[in-house]
């Protein structure tokens, strides 16, 4: 898994790439904790996620709850097909509250 960050005005953008699985879980947690420690609005780009498992979704959920508890805005965008599939399996779309774009024909082709 690779993490890149970008600061645009008051928007902190976290771009995740690769597999969000148990092997990446520890790194993902660090990345999320760091991202939430900034005072800015957090946007997580999931376009380049090729696979995600329960540990990954659990961390995203924990981050979301943290954001809700502390009154921060956290938004997930450009969900890849793998992410959409798992969110739908667990029926968490409503809980996360982010609009889910139907995945494009290409597996990893996140919307711009």
């Amino acid at each position: 898994m690779q993490v890149s960050t970008e600061q645009r005005g008051t928007l902190h953008r976290l771009r995740l790439e690769g597999d969000l699985d148990i092997y990446a879980a520890a790194d993902l947690k660090t990345a999320l904790v760091d991202a939430l420690s900034t005072p800015h609005e957090l946007e997580i780009d999931l376009a380049q996620i090729s696979a995600i498992d329960t540990s990954g979704i659990q961390l995203l959920a924990a981050a979301k709850r943290e954001a809700l508890d502390t009154g921060k805005t956290m938004r997930m965008v450009n969900h890849s097909a793998a992410v959409v599939e798992l969110i739908e399996l667990y029926d968490l779309a409503g809980w996360f509250g982010d609009p889910l774009w139907l995945p494009q024909a290409s597996q990893n082709g996140g919307t711009a």
Binding site: K29, T54, L59, D91, W95
Partner: protein, 742 residues
């Protein structure tokens, strides 16, 4: 019995009384609006809680009686019974009977025969109401409760319910919950799934490689239980799996709730969220479970309201003996023994006095740093004082609300149609004042309804609305609270009161025409104006009005009457906000320190030598201001100072000047009662201790002005005939003008 049980019993009595009060309020609301579901629920909740708790203490008489009332309420909640006036009236009587039963249990006294018979009659009438169908509901012995009935009805869904809680280690072992759930999808349909995130720690504390999730799944498939269990074969030892077959009873779900860790309310919501049970089913079953636990089972599932709020579910889940979920706002209050509060107030009083002492020393030593520190300390002390006083403040609304019942009952008795209007219910005053205000108010309200408000035919002939209005109002006014009892009845009859007064030698016949209205009205406060025979031919109030006046004066308050013939009467009670600590204004006359409540002081004026001795009025910017020379009034020794000061006080809208030697300024007075020796001294409200340790006397301004007025009257100065007068101070002013003219 053990001390603990005894204490619990006391709590039960206290809470039951509070519940009965709520019940009365709600019933009176229902009388006006029979469709008020909240009120109905409140009545039901009160009855139900009292019944349940009484059962715990083995108070069977209460359980049996309340049970019947509850059955009737139950029907009303189901919409099978319309709550008309008759039913509400019956329920109110039942409430009173429960109160009686509680009192009996508390005091250990036997009920009188009449009361017992009354109870039987009430039970009879309740049974009539809930009819033969329910009448046969003989309580089942708890141990033979039929399982079928207790099992509740089958749940209205056609799927399996799978409840999954994974152990933390599953992910590390390479087992991912998602694959099992996906696998389920290969031989059936996942109708609903709720992912349970509640077990998940905060992000910072989360072990990323552990699974903290659980799932509640509604699964539609025609496979058998084994097939589902087989799907979880691999994680068998690392998860808690519970499977409920289609058509399980609600009670199986309730048991599931009992077994699962975590907050039941939340779990119940999860079950509802994933469509396993409806809220209604769950609620009904839970309520029933509770009944089985506690009293005679009703044998029939109580069908709850369609809109069941979470706290109701919660209340049902709590065992009856934990009465904590009674009302949502209960959590915001704690019960404190009144003695503890009193002790706190006393200590704060001592703190204030001690603080004043230190302040004085700081001033004498001219230590500016110390003075500065002292000033911030006294600010804090003031805040603590205000906070402590506020603890004792209660809203008067609760006292006022008690009169809804009084007005309802008395107007039924008298056949008068009286509506009670309450304003200023949120006005706060000291609890000890409120408590002692109840009796005088009851007197006034009854009087107003009995004698003040005319019968309906008289009202009609006078062109008044048939509906009489009785108003209870409260508001704050310069450190005082004003409570008014206002009716739109016939008003006081001046001629009859005068005739009565002359007959009793209270006034002389030739002066009666000169007597201003206020003084005439005040005659009804005279003791002896209140015996029954006299009242009947007096047509006005008089029943125990002297008692009312004494009660109010004991609270350092005063009463005044306004009355317009044919239009109604207003009785105005003015009370100090608190009995303990006041913000005062300190002054000196000769070597005596005197304090008046600061909020009565309008201004201070120096009069120097301009005032000739003996002149008891003063030109205040063109206004004639009556003066009271405290030195002469209290008979103090010593020569007056070269310069005199006038403290202008305002009470009840009247002004007067108090002549003193020296102004000392603002002072926090902790009022201590005067000894019995001083009981007959008018115009003093109490004493207080100064920082120097000296004693200052607290002046009761209205009382002082009144006694001054009396002194003037005795001296033969009568008010000028024909000029309107409105009270003691105006009286003073009038007598001065008289002096001028004469």
């Amino acid at each position: 019995m053990s001390l603990n049980l005894n204490e619990a019993l006391q709590t039960f009595f206290a809470e039951s009384r509070a519940l009965l009060r709520d019940m009365e309020d709600a019933l009176l609301r229902l009388e006006g609006a029979p469709d008020d579901a909240d009120a109905l629920n409140a009545v039901f909740r009160a009855a139900h809680t009292i019944k349940g708790s009484a059962g715990l203490f083995g108070l069977n008489a209460i359980v049996a009686f309340t049970h019947e009332a509850e059955s009737v309420l139950d029907m009303a909640r189901d919409g099978r019974l319309r709550l008309n006036d008759a039913v509400c009236g019956l329920l109110l009587q039942c409430r009173d009977h429960v109160e009686l039963l509680l009192r009996e249990a508390e005091s250990g006294e036997e009920l009188t025969e009449a009361a017992r018979q009354h109870g039987d009659t009430l039970t009879e009438r309740l049974l009539q109401l809930h009819g033969p169908g329910r009448g046969t509901l003989a309580p089942l012995a708890p141990d033979t409760a039929e399982p079928l009935r207790c099992g509740g009805s089958p749940v209205d869904n056609d799927g399996w319910h799978i409840s999954l809680r994974f152990d933390p280690g599953v992910l590390r072992n390479g087992l991912d919950p998602m694959s099992f759930i996906r696998y389920l999808g290969t031989f059936g349909r996942i109708a609903r799934i709720v992912t349970v995130l509640d077990g998940m720690p905060r992000l910072a504390d989360l072990d990323a490689e552990c699974c903290h999730l659980g799932f509640e799944i509604q699964f539609v498939s025609d496979c058998d239980k084994q097939a589902i269990e087989a799907a979880f074969e691999f994680v068998r030892d690392e998860c808690q799996l519970r499977i409920l077959p289609p058509g399980s009873r609600v009670h199986d779900y309730v048991r599931l709730l009992d077994e699962l860790p975590g907050d039941k309310l939340r779990l119940g919501e999860l079950l509802v969220a994933c469509g396993a049970v409806t809220k209604r089913e769950l609620d009904a079953a839970l309520q029933e479970q509770q009944r089985v636990d506690l009293g005679p089972p009703l044998g029939q599932v109580l069908v709850g309201d369609k809109v069941v709020r979470p706290e109701v579910v919660n209340a049902a889940l709590n065992k009856q003996n934990e009465m904590r979920a009674r009302q949502p706002q209960d959590g915001m209050f704690i019960r404190v023994h009144a003695d503890k509060l009193d002790a706190l107030i006393n200590q704060v009083g001592e703190l204030v006095i001690a603080g004043a002492g230190v302040g004085l020393l700081a001033q004498r030593n001219k230590d500016s740093a110390l003075q500065e520190a002292m000033s911030s300390l006294s600010r804090l002390v003031e805040e603590v004082r205000d906070g402590a006083m506020r603890l004792r403040m209660v809203e008067i609304g609760e006292t006022f609300n008690r009169f809804r019942r009084v007005v309802r009952d008395v107007s039924k008795d008298l056949g008068k149609n009286v509506e009670l209007v309450i304003t200023g219910a949120e006005t706060e005053l000291d609890k000890s004042v409120v408590e002692r205000l109840g009796d005088p108010l009851t007197h006034l309200v009854r009087n107003a309804m009995d004698h003040g408000i005319e019968p309906a035919d008289v009202r009609a002939s006078r062109g008044k609305p048939m509906h009489a209005t009785l108003e209870l109002a409260a508001c704050h006014e310069a450190g005082h609270i004003v409570v008014e009892v206002r009716d739109d009845g016939g008003g006081l009859d001046r001629e009859r009161i005068l005739a009565k007064a002359i007959e009793r030698n209270l006034i002389e016949a030739e002066t009666q025409a000169q007597l201003p209205d206020t003084e005439v009205w005040n005659l009804i406060f005279e003791p002896g104006f209140s015996t029954a025979r006299q009242v009947s031919n007096l047509s006005g109030r008089g029943v125990g009005m002297d008692v009312v006046k004494r009660g109010i004066e004991a609270l350092r308050g005063n009463v005044e009457i306004e009355s317009v013939a044919g239009r109604g009467t207003t009785i105005r009670i003015r009370l100090p906000l608190t009995l303990a600590i006041i913000e005062g204004f300190l002054m000196r006359v000769a070597d005596v320190h005197l304090v008046v409540p600061l909020d009565m002081v309008l201004e201070c004026v120096e009069i120097g030598a301009a005032l000739p001795p003996g002149q008891d009025y003063f030109d205040l910017r063109g206004e004639v201001l009556p003066l009271l020379r405290l030195r002469e009034h209290f008979g103090l020794q010593g020569e007056p100072g070269r310069r005199q000061n006038v403290v202008i006080v305002n009470t009840a809208g009247r002004k007067a000047g108090l002549v003193v030697d020296e102004l000392k300024g603002q002072f926090q007075a902790v009022i201590k009662p005067l000894g019995e020796l001083f009981a007959r001294v008018h115009g003093l409200a109490g004493s207080t201790i100064l920082g120097s340790g000296e004693v200052a006397l607290v002046i009761d301004v209205p009382g002082l002005l009144e006694s001054a007025q009396r002194a003037y009257r005795k001296a033969g100065l009568r008010p000028v005939p024909g000029t309107p007068s409105s009270g003691p101070a105006a009286q003073l002013s009038k007598s001065m003008t008289a002096g001028l003219i004469g």
